[in-house]
Subunit: 96 residues, 4 copies
Amino acid sequence: MEAVKAYELQLELQQVRELRKTLELKMKELDYAEGIITGAKSERKIYRSFSDLLVEITKEEAIEHIERTRLAYKREIERLRGKEREIMEKLSKLRV
Amino acid sequence: MEAVKAYELQLELQQVRELRKTLELKMKELDYAEGIITGAKSERKIYRSFSDLLVEITKEEAIEHIERTRLAYKREIERLRGKEREIMEKLSKLRV
Amino acid sequence: MEAVKAYELQLELQQVRELRKTLELKMKELDYAEGIITGAKSERKIYRSFSDLLVEITKEEAIEHIERTRLAYKREIERLRGKEREIMEKLSKLRV
Amino acid sequence: MEAVKAYELQLELQQVRELRKTLELKMKELDYAEGIITGAKSERKIYRSFSDLLVEITKEEAIEHIERTRLAYKREIERLRGKEREIMEKLSKLRV
């Protein structure tokens, strides 16, 4: 019974970690995009994707979008880290 | 036997829910795109993705596409909600 | 033993079917793109995606790409249909 | 016990292989993009995708990105090949 419980927790931990890493990667990509957009070179065209549509947006709209998304990602990553710690505690108790 | 059946139903319920949430998210994104496209700012270029190709479309084509897609999504989300109710009923009968 | 075998075949059948449906959907999207590209309206800009890059291509390049991809998809869909028939035969023998 | 171990190794091998094939496919796509970008035709516009944003980049930036990504992919593909060999050795020992 405990082995099954531990296995389920391991699986959950793995899923939470993958989700967190995906968000961290997306955040890194947005940081990189911000660097390019605000960099020295003259204006670049920017598009934002919405489902299967790409809509042209301005530099200002892009930066605002990045900042807002970054905040949302940070909160979510923090929440996932908390969940990881929680699961690991449960796992360590099972193993005692 | 009943535990296995309940487990399978739980799994199916989860899949149907994820599919519904994905559609709801896509619908939200299209709503957002529509807001930007029809908003105050002067014309924006728009592309629509088809597999690995992006083809420029007009504002009118984009709006028509959004409206049609929204209708299709709404119908599908309704259908999935019905399926969720169905599965939950089966589950509650198993537990009685 | 036979139940396990049947279950594995069912799973394989499902995966092959999903793959085929994904290809059919992509082919439909390319057909649609071709309709738009070759349609009445004046020239539209077209991009093709390669991993994380989008590169502008001409109308002629797009049509050539669609035709070649369509042929490749058709062959693959045919192959998958054959595999589906094969698996279903195996399943029907197991059930006899 | 050994059957379970072999099954887990098989699963891991499959996942590593799929990951490697995905990277090989992405590398091929970037090679193809490079061919188009550096080809005879006059300048093409290029965009790079970062999460849900597409940012216009120059031909030089695109080529630099492709070269750097190719190196990173090659290293990762090599690492995954090593892992595949490792898993296959473990499997062959189990079967002895």
